[in-house]
């Protein structure tokens, strides 16, 4: 019988080998797939038992904690805290038991410590018996600018509004604020029913506090789009330089017979002003006429060079600002409106900041980014951002032309923002800008949106420190509603960096 017993022994061996192979498959090769199964209750619970990484605002050279996990007394779980709730909510987003947004979502694998680049740290922690820890994410946000931005937006009569500030030479996002905002601390509860209730309240709020207006909402750019139109005119040679005169009648009759007038029916110089004067006075007829000469596809090309018509990830998703190719969009009568930022043009406050950033940086548009560096547990460097060029919007010469025109907007006594962003208003800080007062709604029935795009020019060989875009929904005249917000942010930022 021994031969048969040996065969049965082989069968037993085969059964154990199969079991060993299968548990190796489950516990070594399929772990990621099983961890990603929806409803995996262990993976879900785990996120509260480790200290999630901290999010820092690093833009002023200091480290300000804007999101951190703190242990709950008497338990072994951690809860997320946002020390400056509403101010940073559009940046940090939230981390709830049901989902995440903002940096909490885009940098989740690093914050949660599951990123492959943290594998060595996690393994060391396992061996030394220490607890697994998420990585620290340091953002480009300047606490001074961010705080000033939120406070200025909130102080502006309760209009929905948003602001983005960029470092033009690197693309670092210095401020990203939206009003009204929400307090992410209210969403960190571990009680599902309570979270549901708060979530429903926020979603039902007519003021849409969860909407990140700085990057997720589009508004008509209004006259601020004239930055693009004049860039296209200089670059294509349609206009030689800022002193070149352009046709600027009080009433421009369009090919379809409709009339285009300046704001308030204003007269624009002598009807043939140099383009620089048409720009500081923001004459619609001059730029409407230029738009017809340039044609819609050329305008759209130049808007693309400024970063429009394409999605952007900073790494928060930014909705594309657009000159849409709707039916009949090349009709010259409509192109006249496209050229002055009306018709179907739609931009985010982020895009407004990008207009100025490109001009401030000699025509080179740097790719906006939020994550400056990622630090592993023990503060070892895991990732550090290298600035990259998004596009060459215009040549250095053309950028210089546009900059000189934006200078006049705030410095010429007749400039649209001379009173609100001129040297008297800024306390001596030079700000170059462009206002926009965008008509919107059906038959332009809504209150105008106030728009302001601006930057502090570089001096003494130093690059421009900051560019800002602001949109105040229903704020009225751009120079009055939007420009003071930008000025407040610039003052705060320069104050922190002097």
């Amino acid at each position: 019988m021994n031969r048969a017993i040996l065969r049965i022994s082989l069968a037993c061996l085969a059964m154990f080998v199969l079991l060993l192979l299968n548990i190796n498959y489950v516990q070594a090769f399929e772990t990621t797939k099983l961890a990603d199964e929806p409803h995996n209750v262990r993976v879900f619970d785990q996120q509260f038992t480790y200290q999630r990484g901290t999010i820092l605002a690093n833009g002023d050279g200091t480290y300000l904690k804007i999101a951190e996990s703190v242990p709950v007394k008497g338990t072994d779980i951690y809860v997320r805290k946002y020390p400056y709730g509403t101010i940073y909510a559009p940046v940090t987003g939230y981390d709830t038991i049901y989902g995440k947004t903002g940096i909490e979502q885009t940098e989740n694998s690093l914050l949660a410590g599951t990123d492959p680049r943290l594998a060595v740290h996690n393994f060391t922690a396992l061996l030394t018996g220490k607890q697994k820890q998420g990585a620290t994410v340091a953002l480009t946000i300047s606490p001074a600018a961010q705080k000033a931005a939120y406070q200025a937006l909130a102080a502006d009569g309760g209009h929905p509004a948003a602001l983005v500030a960029l470092d033009p030479s690197t693309g670092a996002v210095l401020a990203l604020a939206s009003y009204p905002s929400f307090d992410p601390n209210e969403l960190t509860t571990l009680n599902g029913a309570k979270l549901d209730k708060i979530d429903r309240q926020l979603l039902a709020d007519p003021r849409q506090p969860l909407l990140n207006r700085a990057i997720q909402e589009r508004y008509p750019p209004g006259s601020s789009f004239k930055v693009v139109t004049s860039s296209a005119a200089f670059s294509t040679g349609k206009v030689a330089n800022p002193s070149t005169t352009v046709l600027a009648p009080t009433v421009l009759t369009l090919p379809n017979g409709h009339h285009l007038i300046n704001d308030g029916g204003e007269v624009c110089g002598n009807g043939h002003p140099p383009i620089i004067q048409a720009f500081w006075m923001s004459c619609n007829t001059a730029f409407g006429g230029l738009g017809i000469k340039l044609t819609a596809p050329v305008l759209r090309d130049y808007s693309s060079k400024f970063g429009m018509n394409a999605p952007l990830s900073i790494p928060l998703p930014v909705v594309p600002s657009i000159v849409p190719e709707v039916q009949g969009w090349t009709d010259p009568s409509l192109t006249a409106f496209t050229a002055i930022g009306q018709f179907n043009d739609a931009v985010t406050p982020m895009q407004e900041a990008m207009f100025s950033a490109a001009i401030a940086n000699g025509g080179t548009l740097m790719k906006p980014y939020l994550v400056q560096r990622v630090l592993g547990p023990g503060l070892s460097l895991i990732e550090s951002h290298t600035p990259s060029v998004l596009s060459q919007a215009v040549s250095r010469t053309v950028a210089g032309y546009v900059q000189s025109m934006m200078f006049e907007v705030t410095h010429n006594p007749g400039g649209t923002a001379a009173a609100t962003a001129g040297p008297q208003a800024t306390g001596g800080i030079t700000i170059d800008g462009k206002t926009g007062t965008a008509e919107n709604g059906i038959n332009n029935g809504n209150p105008n949106d106030a728009v302001f795009t601006c930057f502090v020019p570089g001096s003494n060989g130093r690059p421009s420190p900051i560019a800002v875009g602001v949109i105040v929904q229903g704020g009225g005249f751009g120079a009055d509603a939007a420009a003071p917000i930008a000025v407040a942010v610039i003052k705060a930022y320069l104050g922190a960096h002097s």
């Binding site: 019988m1 037993c12 154990f16 190796n24 489950v26 399929e30 772990t31 995996n40 262990r42």
Partner: protein, 472 residues
């Protein structure tokens, strides 16, 4: 001849190796002690209050087992007892860990309706009963072959035990949907666990006496010698019985073990591959037919093939998915005892206890467990190979094989290798019947290994002193 003269024999006596057994047993006890401490530290950050009592009682039981082996089976394989003790001890540790954390991690709530708040204590009591079973086997059965006398008695007893739950009313036979129990008063046993042992003895006795007939060749088909048709009777009866268990007791695992045991022993006795093929064919056919006829059998296959499909993870395959996710969560090194969440898996203290080890001890831990089981099986098969008496040989081989098959069926089931069927994990699962039966099984293997390694009886007289007496 004097005693001194015998000691001076030139032929060396095979050593009993009882000291090896004791050292290995102490090692196993140390592992259990450390695991127990780790559970306390993992769950509450301090050593469990009952630690000394549990460990001392467990150690006394195991060392009592050791002395019983020393006294009644001095030449037995030195590894069998320590391996079984290690598994038993780790099982109690895991049951304690599950009892302490409670349902979904809420201490004070039972992990499952069939788990009491003193499950670990009960398991320790069952361990005591198991050791008594082991000692009784060693004391009452001096040689395995004495059991051959009770071939048909034990066969009848085995069948009766197997059939009893099916015949009893549900109130006296159903726990958690499985109709495999006998419940009398507050006391319940799973007779199938003992029936398997009784039937192994029956098969061994029956096959040893009939193997010459069963090995006779009939017609030759496709190069395989088929047995004669009239000899098919016993295998058909065994097959029918296993199908009946399957249908009336909704217990696929038990039926697979029962039928696998029979076919393997038939093959060993006759050495005819045709019996294996016929057995396998009958099993597959029976399973296929019942799977298509009975929903509860068919569903097992659906769960096995599509555990993550649609809403399966939340309903039909919830238990399997929880077990798999638990094992995967443990990964290579596990969460550490007391640090995982095995309590999310229904019936984790019995059918799914292996996944709890996978989660908390990791791949390395469960590979070690499988190797311990494998070693136990290997030592049993070794005894079967070495022993001379055919009945003992067949019994030991059959018992070792069914132990391996049981591990394969349950571990393969919970890890998704084969369709899941509810059988206990030997020595690890909560529950007295399985534990006591497992100890009796190990007792029988110890007995056979003792027979196998015992030195041949010395001649009473020296050859030279023999007086040849011739009949005049």
């Amino acid at each position: 001849m004097s005693l001194a003269a015998r000691v001076d024999q030139p032929v060396p006596m095979p050593r009993g190796r009882r000291r090896t057994e004791l050292v290995m047993l102490l090692f196993a006890l140390a592992v259990v002690l450390l695991a127990y401490g780790a559970v306390g530290l993992g769950l509450k950050g301090k050593l469990p209050a009952g630690l000394p009592v549990y460990v001392i009682v467990f150690a006394i039981l195991m060392i009592a087992g050791h002395f019983a082996v020393r006294r009644f089976a001095p030449y037995a394989d030195p590894l069998l007892l320590p391996l079984a003790a290690l598994l038993n001890g780790l099982g109690i540790v895991m049951i304690y860990r599950l009892q302490e954390s409670g349902r979904n991690g809420n201490p004070g709530y039972l992990v499952s309706p069939v788990m009491s708040t003193s499950a670990a204590k009960l398991q320790l009591v069952y361990t005591g009963v198991g050791i008594v079973g082991l000692v009784l086997v060693l004391v009452l059965i001096s040689e395995a072959r004495v059991l051959q006398r009770y071939t048909y008695t034990l066969g009848a007893l085995g069948l009766a035990l197997l059939a009893l739950p099916a015949l009893l009313p549900s109130s006296h036979s159903v726990v958690n949907g499985a109709k495999v129990w006998i419940i009398l008063g507050g006391f319940s046993i799973q007779p199938g666990e003992f029936a398997r042992l009784a039937l192994a003895v029956f098969f061994a006795g029956y096959l040893v006496s009939k193997r010459d007939v069963l090995a006779l060749a009939g017609r030759r088909v496709l190069g395989i010698d088929l047995p004669r048709a009239r000899d098919l009777g016993p295998v058909l009866i065994a097959w029918a019985a296993s199908l009946l268990i399957l249908i009336f007791e909704t217990d696929i695992g038990q039926s697979a073990l029962f039928f696998g045991l029979f076919v393997a022993m038939l093959y060993i006795a006759t050495q005819r591959t045709s019996w294996l093929l016929i057995g396998l064919g009958l099993f597959l056919a029976g399973t296929f037919v019942t799977a298509s006829l009975f929903h509860h059998v068919g569903e097992r296959f659906t769960i096995w093939l599509h555990p993550f499909q649609g809403s399966n993870p939340l309903n039909a395959s919830y238990q399997l998915v929880q077990g798999l996710e638990g094992m995967a969560f443990g990964g290579l090194f596990g969460t550490g005892l007391g640090h995982g969440q095995p309590y999310f898996t229904p019936l984790v203290q019995s059918d799914f206890i292996f996944t709890a080890f996978g989660e908390e001890l990791g791949l390395v831990g469960v590979m070690a467990l499988l190797l311990i089981f494998g070693l136990l099986v290997q030592r049993g098969l070794r005894a079967a190979l070495a022993v001379k008496d055919p009945f003992s040989k067949l019994l030991a081989a059959g018992l070792s094989f069914v132990l391996a098959l049981q591990v394969f069926v349950i571990v393969g089931g919970v890890s998704g290798l084969i369709p899941l069927t509810g059988v206990t994990t030997p020595f690890l699962s909560q529950g007295g019947s399985s534990l006591v039966a497992s100890w009796i099984l190990v007792g029988l293997l110890i007995r056979v290994s003792d027979s196998a390694r015992k030195p041949a009886p010395q001649p009473i007289q020296d050859e030279g002193m023999t007086q040849v007496v011739r009949a005049g």
